[in-house]
């Protein structure tokens, strides 16, 4: 039933996108304008798999727009010390053999086989049907085993009491948290804050979309260019892929 609805929605999206393709300035923004999110009352569907494609050749060294946007959107203070949380961070790379420099944003890779979910004793770490890996902070006991298990250092532990709460993103001391792929925006049909900020800064290094939808821009890009996943040797099948690594 819900699959059918999704298919209809997808067809609608395809036609709508095609109709305005001519006047589209930023294809990445199209989805944001025309998708209206999942209908209220409907659970996330496994026919969808949300993911990102990060183009390191478009990502500018020194630019921190995605990090600031995430921090603002989700109400975590930008890091100063080694105990501060970081849902997303900029990593600067220098190829050892050639010295080629690049930069990329690093966050939860939303694995298909997430080790954090495997090791969590209380099922607080879980993967939603649409592939988004989340921490249910109501269940998190703060054991940090997921932080030990994550190959990407994507998770942070809240070391201090949280005083300023954001309405959309509850946070609390003693629990583990990480990138939610801006699930509260995605459910409304929006895109993650980092994607929006990157586009606004004119870089468009992050492409967000449904990896299962053959008509989505992200699907077509991944089909046409060489992409790679981080620590692909572990076979975790992350939802985030990279160009130019």
């Amino acid at each position: 039933m819900s699959d059918e609805v999704n298919l209809n929605r997808r067809q609608f999206l395809t036609k709508a996108s095609a109709a305005v393709a001519g006047i589209a300035i930023a294809p990445g923004m199209l989805l944001f304008d025309f998708a209206h999110g999942r209908p209220l009352g409907e659970p996330a569907s496994s026919t969808v798999r949300w993911g990102m494609l990060i183009d390191t050749t478009q990502c500018e060294t020194g630019c921190n727009e995605c990090v600031s946007a995430c921090s603002k959107e989700n109400g975590w203070p930008e890091a100063r010390t080694s105990t501060d949380v970081q849902w997303i961070r900029k990593v600067d790379l220098k190829q050892l053999s050639t010295g080629r420099q690049s930069s990329l944003p690093m966050m939860c890779q939303h694995c298909a086989e997430p080790p954090c979910v495997d090791v969590c004793p209380t099922n607080a770490s879980f993967k939603r049907a649409d592939g988004i890996v989340l921490v249910d902070k109501h269940r998190c006991i703060g054991c940090r085993y997921c932080m030990m298990a994550c190959p990407y250092k994507a998770r942070s532990f809240v070391h201090e009491p949280v005083l300023d709460h954001d309405s959309d993103m509850p946070r609390g001391k003693g629990t583990v948290e990480s990138c939610t792929l801006c699930v509260h925006r995605v459910d409304k049909g929006g895109t993650p804050a980092c994607v929006e900020a990157c586009a606004k800064a004119g870089h468009r290094a992050i492409l967000f979309g449904d990896l299962n939808d053959p008509n989505s821009e992200i699907y077509l890009r991944i089909r046409s260019v060489t992409t790679s996943q981080l620590r692909a040797d572990l076979g975790l099948n992350p939802g985030i892929s990279f160009v130019g690594l």
């Binding site: 009352g41 659970p43 049907a129 949280v162 709460h165 609390g172 001391k173 629990t175």
Partner: protein, 118 residues
């Protein structure tokens, strides 16, 4: 005689208890999502049930939303459900001697207009 005394005692204590009942600032108030009597007794079960549905299954737009509780019942003075014995959540929970766990992580403030437009 004993019965009379007992009834008298009961009347006095209940009157006394009545005077102790919290005087709550119900904020905007108005029509609640469910019968107030039912909500008074069961709001925590409803919120927890919907919390699990929203968090784990991704079902949005259910009627028992904590954020909406706060939106309606935050004091009009400071947009908060906590702060004093008159504030909606704190006042009643103090009266019932139950510690609400929600606001250690969730915002106790009415969603600002600017943030709602985000």
């Amino acid at each position: 005689m004993r019965i009379v005394l007992f009834i008298l005692l009961l009347a006095i204590t209940s009157a006394w208890a009545g005077s102790l009942a919290p005087k709550l600032d119900i904020g905007r108030g108005g029509q609640c999502v469910d019968d107030p009597k039912f909500m008074r007794k069961n709001h925590m079960k409803m919120i927890v049930h919907q919390r699990d549905d929203t968090m784990r299954l991704g079902i949005r737009g259910g009627k028992y939303s904590l954020a909406e509780c706060v939106n309606c019942h935050a004091s009009k003075k400071d947009d908060n459900v906590l702060g004093s014995s008159e504030h909606f959540c704190q006042g009643c929970h103090e009266y019932a001697a139950v510690k609400p766990d929600c606001f250690e992580c969730h915002s106790s403030k009415r969603k600002a207009v600017a943030e709602a437009a985000k």
